[in-house]
């Protein structure tokens, strides 16, 4: 009897020791792994569980162009308005001629679920990432500009001139098509796009459309919103309120 007691006492001690050491190891390693992730960025591929989107409330859209300026700054665009300058986002003013009601809204790549630019691309440079962001792989793009013709939103630009001093995270160059990337470099780093961050009235809400509990999903469920050119059936990732 006493033997078994001793045995059980020893195994209890061992168990306790193992528990403590495992706990200590976890405490020691966890912050390191966290630090590694933070320092080295995402090591996993993006998945279709997420679909990034934006909800733009035009009622709050003030008479400013801070979203445009923030986009230009983040992505290293010149901000020029000549026909050959790249514009990834622009403020569009609408006026109902009958009633006289006018409103302004930011217009950019709508990150369609069925993007026409991807359909027409002859080389496969235009593509949609698993998380719904529509991008151009500039290593494959041959600059044919077919996607620019196909886009109903005129969201894409062609780079006509050689560029210098590009941002390290936003490579851009002459001879290829480019457009809003939903600030993919920021999104991958866990931040929100520059335009959404810059809006003084929080008119641009960025979030995961596939997560039913996200702020954007809740708002879209409870409030009216619409797609631009919904008749095309592109299932845009950007939705507007008040138009």
């Amino acid at each position: 009897m006493s033997d078994t007691n001793e045995m059980s006492g020893t195994s209890e001690q061992r168990r306790q020791f193992l528990k403590t050491s495992v706990g200590a190891a976890a405490v020691a390693i966890a912050p390191g792994m966290l630090m590694f992730d933070m320092a080295h960025g995402k090591t996993e591929a993006v998945s279709g569980k997420v679909r990034w989107g934006m909800l733009i409330n035009t009622a709050n859209c003030a008479d400013c162009d801070k979203c445009v300026k923030a986009c230009n700054k983040e992505n290293g665009l010149s901000g020029g308005l000549s026909p050959t300058d790249s514009q990834w986002i622009r403020k569009v003013e609408l006026k109902d001629l009958r009633t006289g009601r006018s409103l302004a809204l930011p217009m950019m790549c709508q990150h369609c679920a069925e993007p026409p630019c991807v359909d027409v691309c002859p080389t496969g440079a235009s593509f949609k990432r698993a998380d719904g962001i529509v991008l151009v792989d500039k290593h494959i793009c041959i600059g044919c500009r077919y996607c620019m013709m196909a886009c109903p939103y005129k969201a894409r630009s062609f780079v006509h001139e050689p560029l210098h001093d590009q941002k390290p995270d936003v490579p851009r160059g002459k001879g290829v098509v480019e457009s809003c990337t939903m600030c993919v470099q920021r999104v991958d780093a866990g931040k929100i796009p520059a335009c959404a961050e810059a809006c003084p009235n929080k008119s641009i809400l960025f979030g995961n459309l596939n997560d039913p509990n996200s702020e954007i999903s809740n708002k879209m469920r409870t409030e009216a919103s619409t797609q631009v050119r919904a008749d095309l059936g592109l299932d845009t990732g950007l939705r507007y309120q008040g138009i």
Binding site: M38, T43, D137, D169, P171
Partner: protein, 191 residues
């Protein structure tokens, strides 16, 4: 003195005098003798002097030249060791490797395979959003941009351009990608 005049007149005086005396062979012999005598005199006097002073100077100069050559050689060797660049017998380029330090893979391997790993990681990042892999172009630039002009291209000894010029392979990367180190970005990452 006579000889000196002949020298200064040169070929022109020689040809003008020939038709007058007509004794071509005799003139040449005379001339050759005088040159020989002059050279002998020179030799004797220089020997006399050299025995005392010139010899000393010559030896000293030779020793100095050897010393300077040795110094230069040792300097080149130590410089090559300290920055780890390649200065082999094939005249490979000497590169400014910037901050340097431990590369993500052995330099010999990287010399052969860097483009393959860069292309692979490029496709993963663009299409799948996998970021922060060790073979990123940004990482290359971050360590290897020159400490003087902050760039991996633009000079014959720049980290990327040095080798690519030597191999005559055009680099397209930096028509779109930044060739400059971004200090601000390094500070932003740990946040």
């Amino acid at each position: 003195m006579n000889l000196l005049c002949d020298q200064s007149d040169g070929a022109a005086s020689y040809s003008t005098r020939l038709p007058h005396n007509g004794n071509h062979a005799g003139y040449v012999v005379l001339r050759a003798r005088s040159i020989l005598a002059y050279l002998q005199g020179m030799f004797r006097s220089s020997c006399r002097r050299a025995l005392h002073f010139d010899l000393f100077v010559t030896v000293a100069v030779r020793i100095a030249i050897v010393l300077v050559a040795l110094l230069c050689l040792s300097n080149i060797a130590s410089a090559a060791e300290s920055n780890g660049s390649v200065a082999g017998s094939y005249g490979m380029p000497k590169l400014d490797i910037g901050k340097g330090g431990h590369c993500v893979a052995p330099p010999e391997w990287m010399r052969i395979n860097h483009m393959k790993v860069l292309f692979k990681q490029r496709d993963e990042t663009v299409h799948q959003g996998i970021r922060g892999g060790k073979y990123s172009l940004k990482n290359c630039v971050e360590c290897h941009a020159s400490l003087s002009d902050n760039s991996v291209i633009g000079r014959p000894d720049s980290f990327c351009e040095g080798c690519h010029r030597y191999e005559a392979v055009k680099i397209d990367c930096f028509e779109c990608h930044s060739s400059k180190r971004s200090v601000a970005l390094v500070q932003e990452v740990p946040k």
